[in-house]
């Protein structure tokens, strides 16, 4: 009995003291002063690192523009709005084509050069195999031609021919900065071995010795973390960084289940940079957590979550009701409470009134035509104009609303995925706001896995959605496109991936052709003045019809870091790079600027 107690006490002692040295992971296989910990991209055990899969895991996430392993042709600089060279050295948009020149010194990790053949092969895969992510590009692409195929030592120039009936260089540019370039000499064999079946190739995990171009390679992974190690022979060292190599030898992404775990790890110095949402970041300042700005809004806003309105469901087809909804919402509350103030005041329309989109925004138009500001008097006026009669009880709570003919309006629902706290807050505030002016709505929280399917099928009255969030060369056009596009129009119940509110049905009376004309026109314009004019017209049309309700601006990516172990992160005061976590977009370049702190060295 005594021995049992002794054993228990000893085990306890080990447990308590065993980690005592461990202030911020000292020792171990990954020394702290050589390891950078990033978080916020991966919440579940990695399944695949295959760049051709539809949803690969960190660090192969094209949809998050993670470029540690595989790289795209260009990188979009969100501060300047320009495409910077990566594997592609330069590009030029012509009439019906885009020319791209590949870097002369780009190399794969096995030493082979990156040539125009690899680029053509990567994109051509989408033409042949419809299950690949790059396949959707071919709705706009006619063919890819290698210019000067006999160039020595290898061809470096390509021409992307656009489809004449759907000329859209903007979308092609989007893909040029997203699709990772894969080695033709490796993947051609993978396809050949599998009977040219793309589905089979997509199933490969590709975790062992993958051939890639990026500065880091995959070392190991588990359900708890993914480990990458620096490649000292990375081609970009010479081309971009004057033969310097990246600071951290290891970049590790620990896998936690929820945002608050990443937040705590950041505050405890166990994480260096994170893209996960951290509420009330100003309270974390004393723990060393920093963001892009030192003050509100802390992060540059880049995305516009909004409420799609299902105009196929009466009475949502009435523009008066929609505008009344827009006028009723307490946008300040949403901004302060739902996104912790990480936002700028909302303006009407679908164009962000700042950043690289700012030049297309007109404040005068917004004031004149817009409804996205809190004005309950005008909300009630719109309701009256539509003939709606709300009735309230003695405590001011809404009982019901009747329409012009005396019929009682059904209670409308605002759908949102359950568990997304900031969206839940937005919806609750919106419901409260709308009810107070007399619009009968309530919250409807659905399983998060059902959110997108419900949106695509049109199974909603209003639904929260962020149209086309990432900052890309095609903004703001792609935001308009996602909200208003009538191509591929589908009835309710079938899947429609854009314009889920089924606005502006071409087969129905009341079709406004000008929307589609402008959407088709804008990508083809090459003069800035013409573009400004066209966007302005489109935005005014949007505001007049109000088919969707923008509710807030939010950061397209959260950029938090702490300098307990590594210093050199860009901020608004030292904006040598845009605000992105190392590993994504231009954030990867900050790795060459980071150096370990003395505290980390001491471990």
């Amino acid at each position: 009995m005594k021995r049992v107690w002794l054993g228990v006490c000893m085990t306890a002692a080990v447990a308590v003291l065993g980690g005592c040295r461990d202030e911020s992971h000292s020792g171990g296989a990954f020394p702290r002063n050589q390891t950078l910990y990033v978080g916020g991209y991966q919440f579940h055990e990695p399944v695949t690192f295959n760049p051709l899969a539809s949803a690969p895991d960190w660090p192969v996430q094209p949809h998050n523009s993670v470029n540690l392993m595989y790289e795209p042709l260009f990188v979009f600089n969100t501060l300047t709005g320009k495409m910077e060279p990566q594997l592609g050295k330069s590009f030029e948009v012509g009439d019906g084509f885009i020319d791209v020149t590949v870097q002369a010194r780009a190399r794969f990790s096995d030493g082979e050069p990156v040539t125009a053949l690899d680029v053509k092969y990567t994109f051509d895969l989408g033409n042949e195999h419809k299950s690949l992510p790059v396949a959707t590009l071919w709705r706009f692409l006619e063919s890819i031609e290698i210019i000067d195929p006999k160039a020595s030592p290898f061809p470096r120039q390509l021409r992307f021919h656009l489809k004449s009936e759907r000329k859209n260089p903007l979308i092609v540019l989007d893909y040029l900065q997203e699709i990772p370039i894969v080695p033709e000499h490796v993947f051609a064999q993978l396809f050949a071995e599998r009977g040219n079946d793309a589905v089979k190739v997509q199933k490969l995990m590709l975790d062992r010795n993958p051939v890639s171009t990026g500065p880091y390679g995959l070392v190991s992974f588990s359900a708890e973390k993914v480990v990458t190690e620096r490649r000292d022979d990375y081609w970009g060292n010479q081309v971009f960084f004057g033969s310097k190599r990246a600071g951290p030898r290891y970049v590790i992404h620990p896998i936690y289940k929820s945002n608050d775990h990443y937040s705590v790890a950041l505050q405890q110095g166990r994480l260096d940079a994170s893209a996960a949402f951290v509420p009330r970041i100003w309270l974390k300042r004393r723990k060393g957590v920093r963001a892009w700005y030192e003050d509100v809004p802390f992060f540059p806003p880049g995305a516009m979550p909004l409420l799609f309105i299902n105009v196929k469901r009466s009475p949502l087809d009435d523009v008066h009701l929609r505008r009344a909804m827009a006028f009723s919402i307490r946008y300040d509350d949403i901004r302060e409470l739902a996104v912790s103030g990480y936002s700028r005041p909302l303006e009407s329309g679908l164009i962000l009134p700042f950043g690289f989109e700012g030049k297309y925004f007109s404040l005068a138009d917004a004031k004149q035509y817009g409804a996205s500001r809190f004005d309950p008097a005008r909300a009630r006026a719109e309701l009256e104009a539509g003939g709606y009669q709300p009735s309230f009880d003695s405590e001011g709570e809404l009982i019901e609303t009747r329409d012009r003919s005396g019929r009682r309006l059904p209670t409308l629902s605002i759908s949102s995925p359950a568990g997304w706290t900031d969206w839940e807050s937005i919806v609750r505030i919106a419901v409260r706001s709308m009810r107070s002016v007399g619009i009968d709505v309530r919250e409807r929280f659905i399983e998060s896995s059902q959110h997108r399917p419900a949106a695509y099928a049109g199974d909603f009255d209003l639904i929260m959605f962020t149209p086309s969030p990432p900052p890309t060369p095609s903004k703001p056009w792609s935001r308009f496109d996602t909200v208003l596009s009538t191509l591929d129009f589908r009835a309710l119940g079938e899947k429609m991936f854009k314009n889920m509110g089924r606005f502006n049905d071409p087969t129905a009376p009341g079709y406004v052709r000008r929307f589609d004309e402008l959407l088709a026109l804008i990508p083809t314009l090459d003069s800035e003045a013409e573009r400004v004019r066209a966007y302005r017209e489109l935005n005014v049309l949007f505001m007049k019809y109000q088919p969707a309700l923008p509710v807030v601006y939010r950061p397209d990516q959260f950029y938090e870091f702490t300098e307990k172990a590594w210093t050199g992160f860009p901020t608004s005061e030292r904006p040598f790079l845009p605000p992105q976590v190392p590993g994504a977009r231009m954030g990867t370049r900050s790795l060459w600027q980071l150096s370990p702190t003395p505290a980390a060295q001491a471990d």
């Binding site: 228990v8 080990v14 447990a15 308590v16 065993g18 980690g19 005592c20 461990d22 992971h25 000292s26 020792g27 171990g28 296989a29 990954f30 702290r32 390891t35 579940h44 055990e45 399944v47 539809s54 949809h63 419809k130 299950s131 992510p133 396949a135 959707t136 709705r139 589905v199 199933k203 190991s220 588990s222 359900a223 708890e224 973390k225 590790i252 620990p254 896998i255 936690y256 289940k257 775990h261 705590v264 790890a265 405890q268 166990r270 399983e447 998060s448 896995s449 059902q450 997108r452 399917p453 695509y456 149209p467 086309s468 996602t482 591929d488 079938e494 899947k495 429609m496 991936f497 854009k498």
Partner: protein
């Protein structure tokens, strides 16, 4: 055969129980198969939705059909092409034939491929997650059980101050919701005092191996999760054991033993042994329920165990993973219950006597 069984009532009893458990098992397997599939939300929808807005409707439909074919949810002809109905939509496989396919594969040990973590197999996922779940709970449950029973027995025997103080405390401890204990522990010991880490199974800078580094790191990370499970188990067990022991202490044979002047330690031993039986069954049941338990603890501490896996699977309606995990839970829980039933039958003479006099 008949007479053999008649002469061995215990064996017959056991066989009878075994048959019933088998029946329950079969029904449970069927229920666990059909239940998730009765919902009208398809996990393939989630997979397609993941691909995002870049899909156009035709490509989306092609991808969807490819997935449906892959998961055996639609009929295919000999050439491997989808069988289509008059309206062009693929014909869905009936639930019955899906079930048949599932049975034949499971009997061979193949629990299928996860839909949401495609292309990982269910076996892989469970195999990776299970050790964490067990490692998290086993020591805490066993130790909590041991210490709880000891304390409970002590309280029952001594009564007086020890009992009056300890008993309400144990009640209080078991009244606190499990996750609150965990979160409060994290708040106090990790965030405020910074003695222990808040998240994870082991330090990020370590790798899983048999080294002092890893083991001490894992132990350090284990303290708080351990305490949260240990505390609750302790409370429950102490309460139960105390009641049992008090009951035993009031029985005739104990009183008689005391009168006879039998040594105190021997009396205690009798008391302990008899009170232990229901507690043992409780332990067996708790161990059997381990696989599906500690979901919240795993969530709070971000332990990559089976609980979290099941939860995400259920939320995303990942049929194969749900069915596979629930199969495992069914097996362990039923097995634990069956063992307990048998043990009671063998160990508890009262039950055996009742069985014999039943005929």
């Amino acid at each position: 055969m008949q007479s053999f069984l008649e002469n061995h009532p215990r064996l017959r009893h056991s066989l009878g129980r075994a048959l019933w458990y088998l029946l329950t098992f079969v029904v449970a397997v069927a229920v666990n198969f059909f239940l998730p599939r009765l919902g009208d939300h398809s996990p393939v929808d989630t997979l397609i939705a993941r691909a995002g807005e870049s899909l156009d409707t035709r490509t989306a439909r092609e991808q969807e059909e490819a997935y449906l074919k892959e998961f055996g949810l639609v009929e295919v002809d000999r050439a491997g092409k989808l069988v289509r109905a008059a309206d062009g939509k693929p014909v869905e496989t009936s639930l019955a034939s899906q079930f048949a396919r599932y049975l034949s594969l499971s009997l061979r040990g193949d629990l299928g491929t996860s839909i949401l973590q495609y292309p990982k197999s269910v076996n892989e996922i469970i195999r990776a997650a299970l050790p964490w779940t067990i490692a998290l709970q086993l020591p805490a449950i066993v130790l909590g059980w041991l210490c709880g029973n000891l304390l409970g027995a002590l309280a029952a025997y001594r009564r007086g101050f020890f009992d009056k103080g300890l008993y309400p405390l144990a009640l209080l401890l078991s009244a606190i919701p499990a996750f609150c204990v965990g979160i409060l522990l994290v708040f106090v010991f990790s965030i405020e005092l910074e003695w222990f880490p808040a998240v994870g199974g082991y330090d990020d800078s370590r790798i899983v191996e048999f080294s002092w580094d890893f083991v001490s790191s894992a132990a350090h990370y284990y303290v708080l999760p351990f305490l949260s499970i240990f505390g609750i188990t302790l409370g429950h067990q102490a309460i139960g054991m105390r009641s049992m022991c008090i009951y035993e202490l009031g029985t005739d044979y104990i009183k008689y033993s005391k009168l006879l002047g039998i040594q105190e330690s021997k009396i205690l031993l009798y008391m302990f042994r008899n009170a232990m039986l229901p507690q043992l069954t409780g332990l067996a049941l708790a161990l059997g329920a381990m696989v599906g338990g500690a979901l919240i603890t795993e969530m709070i501490f971000s332990y990559p165990g089976l609980g979290m896996t099941i939860l995400t699977a259920i939320q995303g309606n990942d049929y194969p993973l749900i069915t596979g995990a629930t199969l495992l839970i069914t097996v362990t829980v039923l097995f634990a219950n069956f063992t307990v039933d048998l043990l009671i039958g063998f160990l508890d003479p009262r039950v055996a006597h009742a069985e014999r006099t039943k005929r």
